[in-house]
Amino acid sequence: MKSSKVITDLVKKVMVSRRSFIKGALAIGAANTVYGCSRGEGLEIIGGEGGSLPGNPIEEVDLSNPQIYTAACPHNCGVGTRCVSKIHVVNKRIVRIGTDDDKLDYDDTPRDKNWLNDSRALNCAKGKSLKYKAHHPGRLKYPLKQTKTRGDVTGFIRVSSQEALKHIATKSKAISDKYGAGAIYNTYATAIGYAGTYNNMGVVRDALTNVRAGARNYFTANTHSDYSYHQYLYAYPLTGHPGVGYPYGIVAPSSAQVGGQTQAINVDFNGNWQADYTASLGADYHFNHNIGYQLPHVAGVVGNVVSFGTNATSTNNSLAWPYIRAMEKLKARDGKVYFIGPELTDTAVTCATEWIQLRNYTDAALIMAMFHEMIVNTFNENGTLKPKAERWLDVNYIDTMVYGFFDSPEYNLAEATGIINVTTGDALTGERKINAVPAGKSLSAYVMGSDDRLTKADYETSGENATYTSKVFQSQQAKRNGATCSYTAIKGADTEYLYKSAFNTAKTPEWAEKICGTPASKIRELAALYCGRDVQGAINEQNEKPIFTEWAGGVQKQNNGVVNMFAIASLLCVTKRFGRNGEGLFGLWGSTIRNRGVLPTGNDMFLTNTDKTDLNAKAPVFGVAYASDLKKIPTLSIKDWFNGIKFAFADKLKEMKDITGNAIDINAYIPDWDPTIDKYVHDDPGTKANVVFDYNGGTDNYPALDGDTYKVVEDTGKVRVAGTRLIINPGGNIAVNQHMNSNDNSAVLRALPLSDETAETFCLATFDPFLSPTAKYSDFVFPATMSLEAGDWTAVGGETIYHPPIVKAPGETKDAWRYTYEALKAQKEVGAITGIDNEIKKFENGGIYKSAEVDSLKVVDYAIKNPNSRFFGKTREEVYADQYIPRKNADNEDITLPTDETSKALGGKLREKLRDYLEDSTDQDRVDKPFIMFRLQSGSYTVQDPDSTTGGTITIDITEEVHGLTSVFATTRPASGNDVADIIGGHAKATINGKVREARPRSTGRFQVYNDMMVWDFENRNSKWHGHLDAEKRGQKNKDTEGDPIVYSIPMYFNFEDSFNEAYGVFNGKTENNVIGKNGVTLSTTHDRYRVHSTHAENPLLRELTHRTEGGKWLSGNDWKEYAIMPDRHPEGGTAPIQPMLSSAVYNANKETASWHEIWISSEDSERLQVVDGDLVLVSNPIGEVRCVARVSDRCMKGTANLHQGSWYDPNPIDGVDDGGCANTLMASKPSRIDNGNAQQSAYVFIKTTTPPTKQTK
């Protein structure tokens, strides 16, 4: 019962209150009230009411009769099919957002969304809450220019867009003239891919940069990969497992199937990517490796699911229903869904049958222990094999197909036949030299540590345990492993690294339990599962069926994420888990939804005719003409743009200050960086390469392996550093918020002088609807339309839908078309660019570049007048409302696909061929004949002569049929200039500046759980561009602080403690503050459902689902009308204290409504940390500090915490603590191992209760 006081208070309120009653009207929208806008004399707001007309009263009756626009959800989750949105608009305001709720499909067949085969994509909370984004009172209204210091909102003045664009165009020209295109970074941004088809601010960016020189682009030839999948893209080809990716060194097609991103893994030491030779396994790759297409197999044929941390249903909403129903069907067939990870995700709560707890960052240790269990159940202690029916591993298969699980001798492989030649030294024509896996260096040797059973295990030469491979190996090396684990630490027992101390330890399940927190018994069960056995080790029918193994983004966004993925893929290789439907390693990579339903046929059903076809020519595209220059810019890791700033402007960064004005100790805070000595961070090979080259002639300063020559440009004896000097940010939040170490990001931007029009200052320009943290730290901010404010075409599962501008954007907000036009005019003003007049003319007087709505209206009107169209005779408004066609369910009611066990893809063919070879051939046949994974189809091939120094060719005739796959290369083989060796990757031995470089190791044509190509690539990455450095500084140093390797050939477990001691500067002596073992927790920073990265962080209807007040319960947060509201701007030179209403300012204004982001903490840690649910906590580590509200939950494993990524960085000016709860405030700059990527889910943090600082009065 409520207390009587509550009731009394309420009655009092009734008595006194008679205010603001509106006659018969509802108050609609967020725009009615703008908090804290005391518009004094001379002040002018820079942000304010959101889109459309503010405060239009909406009559209740209007709600029931809105104008409806059908559209794809304005928010595109990035992968998969967009969901369906029906936007209800009254008086130019969005009042509701519905979804596909028709109960009949297009031919009036009844359908029910609760039917298993229902195909519709229902929009989620993000799509439904967009009216609060569109009409948000914090929308930017005018272009802004920073006049004080970046990040100081009081320094923004209103400028015209022409003035601002001209500044940027001038600067862009100055930079590209002096420093080349590589100094301009076209960052990628969620708003590009997630916006519409035509209204895409990326086009504006290109008009400002690529139109002249072809700036360094995200996703294309000069930057590897992306923030989301950086480590995955390096990791998936490492083993060559066909259910994971194509083999390392076999290059994927450069087509749209895998995008430019594939180059990430194919970079050779030149930083270039190799030519594309074959679709091979890559052709199946995109189709096969996404979750969406495999779900019918999960429903129908898969035996069990093993998921490393997935939250697929939350991350990709349109995938959710197909996922849930598939798991239902699997479980009905007695399949298990194992979820492995530190945090029980929403997906796991719904779908998993078992949560196997695993501490974050320790996946590789779990898998090593699984291998240990498999080995001891295959080999007796004396090295003999257990009887065939009892052994867990198929040793004949491993010998034939898996390189590096056991030690093996050096040999020469005949590429056409698979014949192994161990009797001669150098490789003959048509042969490739395969490196030895030296004694004690194989994966099994590492796993077994000092256990010596494999050093007693014979490579057999005849009988059921012999194969061609084992027979040949035996002639050189009698035993499977030449020694017990022979990895050593230079400092021996004195090493500080935990992982080195474990080299000689047997990686038993008990060893792993101490690391992973996973019960040893459960590790044994998982090992048995992958070997098709039950807990007792007996063959089990269910477990023999395909295993659907799933990875999540978080597994590969850690310090050792590449290694984690390599380990998981190795598990699948060793246990022969490939080539069957539903079997492989799948993720949200390229998840295209299969169950889209069926659309009617006939163009008369759609808005489509020749007019619409012409639209394709009307989106301007820039940069193509300059593509030939791109190969002359070194290829960088995605995150190198930031190191590039430090490289270019190190001299300006010696005296940085933090947000509270205190000096930063440069020596300590980025442990691998000293701006006075090494201007590049972490020996970053991409940054080191980013100097200016004269590639138009001159003397050969140093030769490059591909025959090109490059001369470095010098100024007074020093190389001219390009670095990163200009970033055009089209609607993203990377520069401050979404790149690791937000404190550092913002400190650097504060420290650098503001942009002038020369090439010697840095400039960041942002197009965005909101003053996001990155916009706030920009030199220029341009208010940009949201997708509903410009006419555009978007697609719902193949059905393209046009929406006109639905609401009016606020103030001087412009769409991409208008900004592009202005940008080109600015380019023209600042200097002649060939051809630009023609480009500009295309925007004018009916030219082909039109705002999308112009020609789209023609399409609409054409349909209205076309008697054959279903839109005939309708009004435009009726067309907008009726476009979406409720589709027919395509799946059968059972939702499973009729499936063969074996996949139709190449992996399936390989599996069949292997089965024939291993099981159906006689023992003698198997011993006499080799098996080769790839070989050329019979025929005659002209290839480069590997021994020729002048590019000579030789002819290889392939006539002999051997075991293995055929037709792999033949169909896509280019006409000339081909080297068989290059197909699998590799280079000849070469000399650079007098230093002989060893030949790059060769791919073996087998699955590789030992990959020395990867190590070679690491050590030589970008070295082509390093001629300006002393020989020992070229490439990438593969030595840690103790002189041992950083990158090894096998997926060993690197203790996370070591990574943090490196990242925080303990191991290199920058600090003695060893944080490990001091009551901290390891932190994950997964996506949650209510933002996508940092998009939607400002949306109040989503914000209240992730934020809580101090001590408040679920849904207690309510800083609507306060959060993300922008203050009044000052006339130039104004001094009144104002700040944007982010979290800390909201707190100062109204403590009762201020809210903080949740951090999930294990209920098992609650007592240890003395934190209870609802406590305001300080989360800190040597990198930064954030304030959050604790959510204490059984869904978090002991010793771990989870702060969902993407909240907006908001350092409190009083104490510097981030009240916004941005996860990257806690992330070190240390790149991930092997790929030099972003390890943004790696932090060791301390959590304790706290109170916010009191506002200081000045």
Binding site: M1, K2, V6, I7, L10, V11, K13, V14, S17, S20, F21, I22, K23, G24, A25, L26, A27, L63, R96, K103, N114, L122, N123, C124, A125, K128, K131, S314, I324, E328, L344, D346, V349, T350, T353, E354, W355, I356, Q357, E513, K514, C516, G517, P519, T1082, R1089, Y1090, L1101, L1102, E1104, L1105, W1114, L1115, S1116, N1118, W1120, K1121, T1153, R1195, K1198
Partner: protein, 217 residues
């Protein structure tokens, strides 16, 4: 209010599948969106995953339009009525804010906004923030549509209709009752048996948690 539903059931109600809910809150956002409930503490429908003894119970719940609505019986002003279709409605103009409904409802579903969430009152209201709750989207029902929460449910965990039809359709569901220990999260306020019109397919197969007993991070 008029309640002319095309079919004439005696009691409309909701069905919730605890095994399918993926905690996405599409239902709660759709509810606020359709019913013009602004951001803030009042949610007519709430979705949360409750925890007990290492078991996890997703729940999405609005007003249960009880057969014997305690809120109606508690309201001295006669502001709460039950229609022939079984829909329980608050006439906000009759509410004087005694909170008796909110106390009586076992599920604490009648809600009261604050000034920020409900900045403008409507002529005829006697207090600034009269009680409000789920109307079962009667305006949608009149158009032949399902309630917003049901239409929006991505995981196909929610359904709606005549209770007898729902019972026949979902034979593995049970009607929510205060004596069922699995439903203690639902009965936030008290355990009055109001015969709530809510069927739940229970989550019976709970996730097994494998954790190390010796692990000390």
């Amino acid at each position: 209010m008029s309640k002319s539903i095309k079919v004439t059931p005696t009691q409309l109600g909701f069905y919730f599948d605890q095994t399918r809910c993926m905690s996405c809150n599409a239902c709660t956002v759709a509810c606020k969106d359709w019913n013009q409930v602004e951001p803030g503490k009042v949610h007519w429908r709430e979705q949360f995953t409750y925890e007990k003894n290492n078991k996890f119970f997703p729940l999405s719940i609005g007003c249960n339009h009880c057969v014997k609505p305690a809120c109606r019986d508690a309201c001295s002003q006669g502001a709460i009525t039950k229609s022939d279709d079984g829909i329980v409605t608050i006439n906000r103009k009759q509410c004087i804010g005694l909170l008796a409904c909110a106390d009586a409802c076992p599920f604490a579903k009648p809600k009261f906004a604050d000034d920020k969430q409900e900045p403008n009152s409507i002529i005829g209201w006697q207090i600034e923030h009269p009680a409000q709750k789920c109307t079962m989207c009667v305006d949608r029902l009149e158009k032949g549509l399902d309630p917003a929460c049901v239409s929006s449910c991505v995981g196909r965990a929610l359904d709606f209709g005549d209770m007898e039809v729902l019972k026949a359709k979902y034979t593995d569901s049970v009607q929510v009752s205060p004596t069922d220990p699995d439903f203690e999260f639902i009965f936030k306020n008290n355990k009055t048996d109001t015969k709530p019109s809510l069927l739940i397919k229970k989550k019976t197969a709970h996730i097994t948690i494998s954790k190390s007993s010796t692990y000390n991070p």
